[in-house]
Symmetry: C2
């Protein structure tokens, strides 16, 4: 059984946002906050916040509000951020390298243990702490080090090609930047988090067009 | 008035996905497709697809299905992809450069006309067709070339600092990679499309943890 089987995706997807804001508040030295104040900062209603947090057990006290550090820690625990699982990154092109350099995987619950590319010209090059490895090594690497997560910064066709193998080799979660929608058999128990940058850009184009025609 | 004032965000956010799949089908030479077949490919129900497209006028024919090229073009028109508006990118760090190099802005309805960074060491360097400019030039550049969109690949504090100025200088849409939530007065008529990579990574961590505790 998952720990929170009945919590909806829309609630779950707000947790990182709560965590991010609580982190900032903690850094500013704020010790406690009412759901009303928190709502103002985060752009939700107080009752929405209370409802969301109640899905996981509450954490607030009537008339007192939330202890910032405590709530930040609790949400971090729900998100499993302290339990760092091994991850690999496929594709050392522009985007892959930027993700490897820019993202703080450790902060978000991961330990990046390998970067792979099929281009022999890139193999051996060093990116921060990692030497780029050849995708030929993937299977043996997975057998030896057991990564659970694969960030896919490779073209759609390559992603579709390799995804099933990765699942066979033990990957249970994908951070998918390839412009494709991966799907797996339910029995495989795999979660795919896709970041469709192109879709995001088109959405922006649409809404700016709607603003323009608003006059 | 916006062209489609009553269409919900969840419907709108599916349009880029439709567009992406229709593009792929067109490239494969598929000329027409039933809503049933399209639903299978895209992972929605046929009635959902019909409902979504009906918000914009339909485009299908009972018993015939959709003409792929026609529907792709219509959705492209709704998304305003053919009407390319000028965009700038702020922040020529790892992520900014990857976005500039990796994304095909033209395909998604934009024309990238300038890249800016406050680091003098980067000023003048060439990225594809663009020389990195100093942020000191931003105001005069905006006055001269009238960019409408700003992609923000800068730290949260810098983004919060500069956002209001950018709106004053004519920016109406933000593609926001800074780890902050920008907000504006309603009268400003600005749309913000945020890509919170950290939130996405935390969401992945959560769901993989839920899978692990499912046994």
């Amino acid at each position: 059984m998952p720990k929170y089987p009945n919590v909806s995706a829309s609630v779950t997807r707000r947790l990182p946002r709560y965590y991010r804001f609580l982190n900032a508040l903690e850094k500013q030295g704020v010790e406690r906050i009412s759901s009303k104040e928190f709502a103002l900062i985060i752009g939700l209603t107080a009752s929405q916040i209370r409802q969301d947090l109640n899905c996981f057990g509450g954490f607030g006290q009537q008339g007192y509000g939330y202890k910032v550090t405590l709530l930040r820690r609790e949400i971090g625990r729900i998100l499993a951020l302290d339990n760092k699982i091994p991850a690999i990154l496929l594709g050392a092109g522009n985007l892959g390298l930027a993700i490897a350099k820019h993202m703080d995987f450790e902060k978000d619950g991961f330990r990046l243990i390998g970067i792979f590319d099929k281009n022999p010209a890139l193999t051996g090059k060093k990116i921060r702490d990692w030497h780029i490895r050849s995708t030929d090594e993937l299977e043996s690497f997975c057998a030896k080090y057991g990564p659970k997560i694969a960030a896919l910064c490779i073209p759609a066709e390559s992603a579709t090609e390799i995804a099933d193998d990765l699942v066979k080799w033990g990957i249970t979660g994908f951070w998918n930047f390839s412009q494709c929608d991966l799907s797996f058999c339910e029995k495989d128990k795999v979660f795919v988090e896709s970041v469709h940058l192109g879709d995001s850009l088109m959405t922006l184009r649409y809404y700016v067009d709607q603003l323009e025609t608003e006059e």
